[in-house]
């Protein structure tokens, strides 16, 4: 084989979101927060449950945004960490009688460690190769969860049932409503922490790596450390989401965490706008509600309708919800001038 090597001038695969545009303006943030706080007071329990699911997936999509939009590493394997977090919580609640809230940080830490460990060999891979590796992880997970020798803990193919917590201190709200506010508090905490992370020095280091790894390394950024940390942090946050998911759904089973989940989280990231943290919840809403919409339009062709709706979204806003936000922002700016 010829000794000539292919010289590639790399264009960044992920376009940068300018730092000040990383979050919503203060006014918008407050409005959204208010909406999120008041909404459940006016709707039925089932809708509250769906909103909780949106928040949970929003956390997972946010984690993926940090990894891909932040450090430029592509992952189709988030479902594995989600599953790990879910099972950690489930096992601790059901087998160790632990308080559900305490299981979440534990799930987060365990997933952080596994994510970090996975990130180490992943350093040698990028782009399509990393995609394949993470894909392998995602397809392996359901099978690993079905393995015979841990069945005593995991419940094997049938999985585990998880007890749903009541509102604490006898607060007068349903389980669903309590769980919603609990999840919301955690989601806000994670969101704020993530925004701070991405706008901090570490965040800038991450994004320098995303845009031009070689230059970043030449400037003294410890590329290996940051990339593996990014994997770890992303996995950890996804694990927390998984734990919350287990509690909300009251159930964990291997086939709930297939590659389909990983693909959905990826779609959520794209629809929300890669690297734009506020978009995570919009992406999550897309993956929770649009499949239902598709099915109501046509039961037999629900997959096709979903695909068509997805195409419509990416044709109209190839950069995701972030594009809509920018357009809205500039329109408001123009209106203000007049």
């Amino acid at each position: 084989m010829s000794a000539v090597q292919e010289v590639v001038t790399e264009a960044p695969a992920i376009d940068a979101v300018p730092r000040k545009a990383m979050t919503l303006g203060r006014g918008t943030s407050l409005a959204v927060l208010l909406l999120l706080l008041l909404f459940p007071l006016f709707v039925k329990n089932f809708i509250i449950f769906q909103l909780t699911t949106v928040l949970i997936y929003g956390i997972a999509v946010l984690a993926l945004n940090i990894l891909t939009g932040g450090s430029g590493q592509f992952s189709l394997g988030q479902s594995a960490f989600y599953a790990l977090g879910a099972y950690t919580s489930a096992i601790l609640i059901e087998h160790a009688n632990m308080n559900y809230a305490l299981t979440l940080p534990i799930a987060g830490v365990i997933c952080f460690v596994f994510g970090f460990l996975f990130g180490l060999p992943a350093l040698r891979l990028s782009g399509v190769y990393l995609a394949l590796a993470t894909f392998a992880l995602a397809t392996a997970m359901p099978q690993l969860l079905k393995l015979g020798f841990i069945e005593h803990w995991t419940g094997g193919v049938q999985g585990l049932v998880v007890t749903k917590p009541d509102a604490p201190f006898g607060l007068p709200m349903s389980q669903d409503m309590w769980l919603y506010y609990f999840t919301l508090a955690i989601a806000i905490g994670i969101y704020v922490a993530s925004v701070n992370l991405l706008t901090s020095r570490s965040g800038r280091a991450l994004m320098a790596i995303r845009d031009n790894e070689i230059a970043a390394s030449a400037m003294g950024v410890d590329v290996a450390l940051y990339k593996t940390l990014a994997f770890g942090v992303s996995a950890g946050i996804t694990g927390v989401a998984g734990g919350l998911g287990a509690i909300a759904v009251q159930f964990v089973a291997p086939d709930s965490y297939t590659i389909q989940l990983a693909i959905n989280l990826f779609l959520g990231m794209v629809v929300g706008g890669v690297g734009w943290l506020p978009g995570s919840i919009i992406g999550a809403a897309f993956i929770v509600f649009i499949p239902n919409v598709a099915e109501s339009i046509s039961k037999g062709l629900s997959g096709a309708v979903f695909g068509v709706l997805l195409f419509i979204v990416i044709f109209l806003v190839p950069h995701g919800a972030r594009q809509v936000a920018f357009v809205a922002q500039s329109l408001i700016g123009k209106l203000r001038k007049n």
């Binding site: 090597q5 695969a13 891909t68």
Partner: protein
């Protein structure tokens, strides 16, 4: 030792499936520089079209040729309608497009032809090949067709003007435009060819895995893995990669304890990734230097 050789041979036989799929994957990669996740579904749909033509009484080889032509045209139409508008969009958005295409094709196929398994004929018969219990005549036929395809592709890229233009457009699109190559149409052509190759893969695979809308799911992943293993720019690598993946998969299933059918895929992928960590550009790929 005999078990080992048998498993290796059996692996090569199943590997022909992956090799064929991998060729289609490399084809599309040459054209658009990424992997099309809907490739397998397109191949499945083409296979259904050929089946339908035969149901309507058209003989096998006519159905084959007609399907090839329809697939070629279909690939071009899909690219022009759905992906040309996304040409300036970020890569990840295009990937979302592939996923959407996957969902659409899978769903439509399920609606038209439903999800029950169908038998699919083979022109090669299924008796043991040269008396061997491990390779059937069909599998030998698959290997033969794959090798022929590989040679044809090689000749296309090395010795024809269009092949040269396609290689140039994929390698350095701006320079290609500066010699008058319409890079946009090269992409469309690449899609058409990949769809046609995919249809051949589907037609060869269907007799073995039976025809149903979800038949290509596992095959596609192995096809990707094989293409990546071989080095994404090398058709020869794709074919060798396909055979290797078949062998890995079989050996893993035979020798690693506890590996049932479900874990074969992740194990095979893990093996491939190990190779990639050592040889990041694949076995036959050119090592890539990144210029700052």
């Amino acid at each position: 030792m005999e078990l080992f050789t048998n498993q290796v041979l059996a692996g090569i036989a199943t590997g022909a499936i992956y090799a064929c799929m991998a060729l289609a994957v490399v084809m599309i990669y040459q054209a658009i520089d990424h992997l099309n996740f809907a490739q397998g579904e397109m191949a499945m749909f083409s296979t259904f079209i050929s089946w339908q033509l035969m149901q309507w009484g058209i003989p096998y080889w006519w159905a084959f040729l007609l399907t090839l032509a329809i697939s070629f045209a279909g690939g071009i139409v899909i690219e022009r309608l759905l992906f040309k508008p996304l040409a300036k969009a970020p890569i990840l958005t295009n990937v979302a497009g592939f996923i959407a295409l996957f969902a659409i094709i899978n769903s439509v196929a399920g609606l038209i032809w439903d999800f029950t398994i169908k038998q699919y004929p083979t022109p090669f018969g299924s008796s043991p090949f040269l008396g061997s219990q491990l390779i059937s005549t069909h599998q030998a036929g698959m290997i033969g067709v794959t090798v022929i395809l590989l040679i044809l592709l090689y000749m296309f890229f090395q010795f024809t003007r269009v092949g040269l233009a396609m290689r140039a457009a994929a390698a350095m699109p701006e320079s290609a435009r500066l010699v008058g190559i319409n890079t946009s149409w090269m992409i469309a052509l690449g899609w058409g060819m990949a769809a046609a190759i995919g249809s051949i893969a589907g037609i060869l695979i269907a007799p073995v895995v039976f025809l149903e809308p979800n038949m290509m799911g596992g095959v596609l992943i192995y096809g990707f893995a094989a293409a990546v293993l071989g080095g994404l720019t090398s058709p020869l690598g794709a074919v060798v990669g396909g055979f290797l993946v078949g062998v890995f998969e079989n050996l893993a299933g035979t020798y690693i304890p506890g590996v049932g059918n479900e874990l074969k895929l992740p194990i095979a992928l893990a093996l491939i990734i190990t190779v990639l960590v050592v040889k990041p550009a694949g076995l036959f790929g050119r090592p890539i230097i990144k210029r700052v």
